[in-house]
């Protein structure tokens, strides 16, 4: 990443921060023992892993034994959903939203193929699930509900607490994919009525290749992978020790800085949004207020997202069009369709996601460049009629 990079793709991934890398470093060459080994170098590493579990738990208001380290947010989602389905033992009914990340959505699709019934709750124009819809969708054989805490594309925050209470009232398991929320907004599992919660380190300045699943005490899943007895057999395989240490340091730092970070990012976000909305035929996707502090998602009508992304890239600005995970596919994002955008508007959507290193100068640079880019691309566009 050469000279001046303005990175506005923190929703896709974030850089590992210095303190996190420093915490990880001893675990490559010096503290390299296998935590399952009985000898001192192994036991020393075991202690470090358990301390990391403790730190992670404390950052979320959880108990250490409720934290299971995984290789990614995707793995956490898969273990929770498919593991609960396997544990359920027979096909049943699952409720989720129509704007979940692929790592929930595709698991549900897969389970449907295997005989489970799945209800995909609609969302309103802002991407919000209505708790009344959840209540109505519940059937006697509903055994798990999975609703994300915040959407990765449009940033909309869901009423997770309210949804969780409905699940609890009906004695149904509740999972929330909080990959976009952990480290950005407070999560207190002492209070939040969820049974499972997924997170991923690389979204809060931790390393790639490590995530975690919170699973509340007395909740059970059937493991998907088999092997050693690591992570209480829920996730076998030699632990990614440096990754786990990195995750725990990153979550500790991120959670302690939430108040300042939230204030700063919200201000930057709103500055970006107002700037964009001054351009004609631009619409904001997602909720105007109840959205991730760092998330801006707008559609520039008459132009296709990738061409904006590329134009910004040529200016040294990194953004995303749709979700990082679905790039490479040319289908418009299912999230943008679910909030009612028509295909051409959905195709014109760009996500700017701010993070730790974002500054007012970055925002102003982007606001300075965008009008020219939009104008140029619209001039090429056959659907844009100059008045």
């Amino acid at each position: 990443m050469k000279n001046r990079l303005i990175y506005m793709d923190h929703g896709a991934t974030t850089p590992v921060r210095e303190e996190v890398l420093e915490a990880m470093l001893p675990f490559f060459k010096e503290l390299y023992g296998n935590p399952s080994s009985l000898h001192s170098p192994g036991r020393e590493v075991r202690r470090a892993v358990e301390e990391a579990r403790g730190k992670t738990a404390r950052s979320l208001g959880a108990d250490p034994e409720e934290i299971y380290f995984t290789a990614s947010g995707t793995e956490a989602n898969n273990i929770a959903l498919r593991g609960a389905a396997k544990q359920h033992g027979k096909p049943g009914h699952i409720i989720t939203s129509s704007i979940e990340h692929h790592a929930v959505y595709e698991v549900c699709r897969d389970l449907e193929r295997e005989g489970y019934r799945v209800t995909y709750l609609p969302v309103d124009q802002f991407g919000m699930v209505d708790p009344a819809d959840l209540e109505k969708a519940i059937t006697p054989d509903t055994f798990i509900i999975s609703i994300m805490s915040a959407n990765n594309e449009i940033g909309t925050l869901q009423p997770v607490r309210e949804l969780g209470w409905i699940a609890k009232k009906h004695d149904i398991l509740f999972h929330s994919d909080a990959v976009q929320v952990v480290g950005q907004l407070p999560v207190d599992l002492n209070e939040l009525p969820v049974d499972f919660l997924s997170l991923s380190a690389h979204k809060f300045n931790g390393p790639k290749g490590v995530g975690a699943l919170f699973m509340r005490k007395r909740t059970e899943v059937t493991p998907l992978y088999r092997g050693g007895s690591q992570e209480k057999k829920i996730r076998p395989g030699t632990e990614n020790v440096p990754g786990i240490i990195g995750l725990s340091r990153a979550i500790e730092l991120a959670v302690s800085e939430i108040p300042q970070k939230k204030e700063k990012l919200t201000a930057l976000r709103d500055r970006l949004i107002s700037g964009f909305l001054e351009i004609e035929e631009v619409i904001l996707n997602g909720h105007p207020g109840l959205r991730l502090p760092g998330n801006v998602n707008v559609s520039f009508k008459h132009i296709e997202g990738e061409s904006v992304l590329l134009s910004l890239d040529l200016e040294g600005v990194a953004v995303s069009s749709g979700s990082a995970c679905s790039s490479g596919s040319e289908e418009p994002s299912h999230v943008l369709i679910a909030i009612g955008l028509d295909h051409s508007v959905a195709h014109g959507s760009i996500r700017f996601s701010l993070g730790l290193g974002s500054s007012e100068e970055d925002v102003d640079f982007v606001l300075g460049k965008i009008p020219g880019i939009v104008k140029r691309l619209r001039e090429i566009s056959p659907t844009y009629h100059k008045h």
């Binding site: 296709e304 990738e306 061409s307 590329l310 040319e330 051409s344 195709h347 090429i380 056959p382 659907t383």
Partner: protein
């Protein structure tokens, strides 16, 4: 993702615009991704004398439209009919595989424009 030629044509597309009194107009849309292209030609003595385009689409779509307009200027209609989307991609030094089928529809629009021209002429 894109090579330098593509980036150049994307950043400085040649022959953008409409031709008010075009002799033929072609339009194509990709059902898969919604990309859309409009191509205008002026024909003189069986050769393409002028050509302009308007494109809604990704980088590949814009660059292939631009490259195509460079390729066809001065060509006879028969020559132009032989140009394929693959030829355009080759001239561009290659496109990413995912982009080959959905955003590279410039040649299709050209063929439509030529057909339109021929239809108008045979109608005369």
């Amino acid at each position: 993702m894109y090579n330098e030629i593509v980036v150049d044509h994307f950043s400085n597309p040649r022959n953008v615009g409409e031709i008010a009194d075009a002799d033929g107009v072609g339009e194509t849309t990709s059902f898969k991704c919604g990309d859309m292209m409009k191509l205008y030609i002026k024909v003189k003595d069986g050769r393409i004398e002028d050509v302009r385009f308007q494109t809604y689409g990704c980088g590949a779509a814009i660059a292939s439209s631009s490259m195509l307009t460079e390729m066809v200027r001065g060509k006879t209609l028969d020559e132009a009919m032989k140009i394929t989307n693959e030829n355009v991609a080759e001239e561009l030094g290659g496109l990413p595989p995912v982009k080959m089928h959905c955003s590279n529809l410039a040649a299709d629009a050209l063929h439509e424009a030529i057909k339109d021209y021929r239809a108008r002429h045979s109608a005369k």
